[in-house]
Amino acid sequence: MVRRIRPTLLGYAPLLTTIAIFFLAYYIGAQMYPAMQNPQAFFNLFINYGSLLLVSIGMTLVIITGGIDLSVGGMIALTTAASAALLKNGASPAVVIPLMLVMGVVIGFTLGSIIHFFKVQAFIVTLMGLFFARGMAYIISLKSVTITNSFYKTLALTQIPIPFVSNAYVYSYALVGPLVLLVAFYLAYFTRFGRTVYAIGNNEQSARLMGLPVGRTKILVYAFSGFCSALAGIVFSISLLAGYGKFASGLELDSIASVVMGGTLLTGGVGNVIGTLFGVLIEGTIISILQYNGTLSSWWTRIGVGVLTLIFIGIQSLFYMRQKHS
């Protein structure tokens, strides 16, 4: 019995650690600032970090294949700017939203194809994707464009009450992240595509020798990440009701940080999307704590995110080393 439980526990150890750290962080926050004991403070995490969650889901799959996607922040900025400009010129949301999603998939697909066919490192290609997307956003508009579309406004203001919890609600757009999380969970664990993703991350060469469709899966993973970032961009533009090329700057590190906190190895092959959810929640909690403490200035969150990433990468490499030794 013990022999069977131990490997399982060890396998889930990073995930369990992440969940434990989240509860610990939230508990400490609630002790320091009683306002965080209000259930609404917890649901606010989903409202405020909805787009981060979306981006991180796509990023998780990319990192599991051993790659990285630095273009996410730029994609969000481009999506917000493009949709704001289109809506301003009278396009209907029924056209704009699918168009943005297609754009995200196409850009992700292109980046993935370049990475696969030309064998260029993923971070260079996606870094260029980041600058390209931001540049395009500036070409569309040099200034912030507000969205006055009534459909977007209703979406932005519709409150959905949480069942069984009184006085707690989320905005409609906050539900997109958890929904996509379920889809990604299904994709990663119950489909052939998901198993191929893990196989590539563990050893690309042997995955290819096993006859798995390595190229197709890699390209699809980047396309999925592009889709997630476009969706995150739409959520972002709904929540702020504006579009601008400077939005979501530095989001790539936030997202990598939450993926790493969720127990996904940067070297690929190990990790899961559920952990990423808790990674995002940890990051949200810590940023909230920094914000509740009114005396700290905004740049501390920047530095805080950097330090957090570093700590978790350190914890990870410790875990990894111990597994290697045993």
Partner: protein
């Protein structure tokens, strides 16, 4: 005696492609806006007689980028990358501004203190502290990469995002304007009619060339870039080579930050050195250094940086807004990287492969011969 024909030697030289790109851009200017080449002498009341014109500006404004790409070349040659150069520029600029007018703590600085054209720290100390800040940042990156074994991209991404926060922390979130005139000399001064920044660049270029080509450090860097593990087994201190290149890159970025903040008379944590990581990578790639590490050339990276600034200034004179250029440069990097990739090279060699051509010609000859045969 070198038997290779001169033309081929020129074509295979490191400097060939960047120079071709430069000539093409200059030719564009010759055709569409000849006034780009106008160089005159102006008698400036502050800095004395000096040259002015777009070509001088290319080197003056491009100096920080040339410096950063020299550092970036060495980092890329070891198979790494430094995404934090922009943030390091901001940090060192902030360091310089703060030492002139201390803004630590929570008090805001009043205008009288700012505008009195004085400094709280002697100038040599300011320069030393600025450069030290850059070296410390570089050492931090190098430590993460060589000792903590974090991938270079993630390790430097942390400072790329966190560093701008640190720069704001140093200046207490303010955009600090500098009013201390001796400090302006680095970005605006002239020696013998040429901008000071050009002399700084040439000095750094020569010193780093001596460092990598007249000592064995250059060989070590290339060997680590080609195969870090086998370099380690052949007795090269691979960890310290990496530490050294990141520290050197930090130093280069710090000098760039000094020139930039002195040129724009201010330090702004959010905008100093924005997108320099993109331009530096572009310059290095254009210079022919492979992203996977190995052989490198400092001079061709520097020419790559000059090409970028000539291109940028040309576009400005055409009236293209600065932010819109970002997308174009990103596409340019990708194209250059794809051109240098193995797949494209194989494709090109297949096109020009002499064997294939011969086989084709033989077929043609046989076909012709057989026709002759039948006619006879």
């Amino acid at each position: 005696m070198n038997k290779t024909p001169l033309l081929k030697r020129i074509r295979e030289s490191w400097l060939f492609w960047p120079l071709v790109a430069w000539v093409i851009i200059l030719l564009l200017n010759v055709i569409f806006q000849p006034e780009f080449f106008k160089i005159g002498i102006i008698d400036d009341p502050v800095y004395g007689k000096h040259l002015y014109g777009n070509l001088v500006d290319v080197f003056n404004n491009g100096a920080p980028l040339i410096l950063v790409s020299i550092g970036m070349t060495l980092v890329i040659a070891t198979g790494g990358i430094d995404l934090s150069v922009g943030a390091v520029i901001a940090i060192s600029a902030a360091m310089g501004a703060v030492l002139i007018n201390p803004a630590l703590g929570n008090k805001l600085i009043s205008n009288e203190i700012l505008t009195r054209n004085a400094t709280n720290t002697p100038l040599p100390l300011i320069i030393l502290a600025t450069l030290a800040a850059g070296v410390v940042c570089g050492l931090w990156n190098g430590f993460l990469v060589s000792r903590a074994r974090i991938q270079p991209m993630v390790a430097t991404l942390i400072l790329m995002v966190g560093g701008r926060g640190i720069a704001q922390l140093i200046t207490n979130g303010q955009i600090m304007t500098i009013y201390y005139t001796p400090y302006f000399w680095f970005g605006n001064g002239y020696i013998l009619g040429l901008p000071v920044s050009i002399y700084i660049v040439v000095a750094v270029l020569i010193l780093s060339w001596i460092l990598v080509r007249k000592t064995s450090i250059g060989l070590f860097i290339e060997s680590v870039g080609i195969n870090a593990k086998s370099s380690y087994f052949s007795g090269i201190d691979e960890k310290n080579v990496k530490l050294l290149v990141y520290a050197f890159c930090g130093l280069c970025a710090a000098i760039a930050g000094l020139i930039l903040s002195s040129y724009v008379h201010s330090a702004d944590g959010n905008n100093n050195g924005l997108d320099y990581e993109l331009d530096a990578i572009l310059a290095v790639v254009m210079g022919g250094t492979l992203m996977s590490g190995g052989r490198f050339s400092l001079l061709s990276s520097a020419i790559g940086a000059v090409v970028i600034w000539t291109f940028t200034l040309t576009m400005y004179t055409f009236g293209v807004p600065a932010n819109a250029l970002l997308a174009g440069r990103a596409v340019l990097v990708l194209i250059v990287i794809l051109l240098y990739s193995d797949q494209t090279r194989q494709f090109l060699t297949r096109l020009t492969d002499s064997k294939e051509t011969h086989r084709y010609l033989n077929k043609l000859m046989i076909w012709k011969g057989s026709r002759h045969g039948t006619s006879n």
